[in-house]
């Protein structure tokens, strides 16, 4: 009995653990939006661009970001690849200088990482530029797939003066070489096993109509009385009454 109950109990605990893991997976974008090294957090996707700068342009390894504005045209990268992102812009005279160039990755509507670098500005020509070596950072061997990124320029007052969203598709080594994919495959196999063994568990489960195994004190079947619940635990036969003894003088 204990040998059949133990695997089911273990499987149940595995299921509980896996469901908790999925919940943590869903909460990951919020939990990971904390400062990690040089990365900083942001409140969310950048607001629409204003006219505080002119001729803003950003390139992804030399290609304009607008080339990947659709998911089907996402920039294809390897998860451990380093990408050179170039920003150029012109700040009109009298406008606050652009101080920061930023790239944010978005997952389930939340910013999961922010990379930013300082921008330089030529005071005479008012031309500005910034360069960034972008990577997946802490998610390098954890995540793969399609993600929405937002490149933005921030001025000295903290206002976002320009932003553009684009898609990337990160390929894991050997297609399954990221931690998340391995975890999901294992989780899927365990849940599939749990579904397919439901019938076997039901067959092993005792029902009300099934007879319980005989207890040691039950009589053999041919001598036992018919009907459930008639067998009683053995009891010692009552001792024979003692003969009356007379008190000896």
């Amino acid at each position: 009995m204990a040998t059949t109950a133990r695997p089911r109990g273990v499987l149940r605990w595995i299921n509980v653990g896996l469901i908790v893991s999925v919940a943590l997976l869903l909460a990951m974008p919020v939990a990971s939006a904390t400062p990690i090294g040089s990365r900083t957090t942001a409140g969310g996707p950048a607001p629409p661009a204003s006219a505080a700068i002119t001729n803003p342009r950003a390139t992804w390894d030399g290609t304009n970001l607008s080339a990947a504005s659709d998911q089907a045209q996402a920039f294809s990268i390897n998860t451990d690849q380093r990408i050179l992102v170039n920003f150029t812009f012109v700040v009109p005279l009298g406008q606050p200088n652009v101080t920061t160039a930023r790239v944010q990755a978005i997952y389930f509507g939340a910013v999961i990482s922010t990379d930013q670098v300082g921008a330089s500005l030529n005071e005479i020509t008012r031309d500005g530029a910034a360069q960034m070596n972008w990577t997946l950072g802490t998610f390098t061997y954890l995540l793969a797939g399609v993600y929405l990124l937002t490149a933005s320029l921030v001025n000295g007052t903290g206002a976002t003066v320009w932003s553009e969203s684009f898609y990337i598709q990160a390929h894991a080594p050997y297609r399954v070489g990221s931690g998340m994919i391995v975890f999901l495959i294992v989780l899927g196999l365990v849940e599939l096993y749990a579904i397919l063994t439901v019938g076997r568990s039901a067959r092993k489960r005792p029902t009300s109509s099934s007879k319980s195994p005989p207890t040691p004190w039950q009589q053999p079947a041919e001598t036992a009385e018919p009907g459930p619940g008639t067998a009683a635990p053995p009891s010692e036969p009552p001792p024979p009454p003692e003969p009356p003894t007379e008190a000896s003088p």
């Binding site: 299921n15 896996l18 469901i19 999925v22 997976l25 998911q71 978005i106 997952y107 389930f108 509507g109 939340a110 995540l143 793969a144 797939g145 399609v146 993600y147 929405l148 898609y167 598709q169 390929h171 894991a172 297609r175 990221s178 998340m180 994919i181 999901l184 495959i185 989780l187 899927g188 849940e191 599939l192 749990a194 579904i195 397919l196 439901v198 019938g199 076997r200 568990s201 039901a202 067959r203």
Partner: protein, 62 residues
Amino acid sequence: MSGTTSAAGSGAVLGAVVIFLLQQLGYMSLSTLDWGAVYLIIGLLAGGILGGLIGWVLTRHH
């Protein structure tokens, strides 16, 4: 917990796993909250219903 309910729960988790796996393999994007939630709910519901049906059939068969 009956076999059908247990299988439905496992199916729902499996449906969510399939959605996340499709995203990780690059077949869909879960970047925006609205579409990500829609895909996830569809996966949970479809997986739960399918898992429940399979569990019900297997339980009856045995």
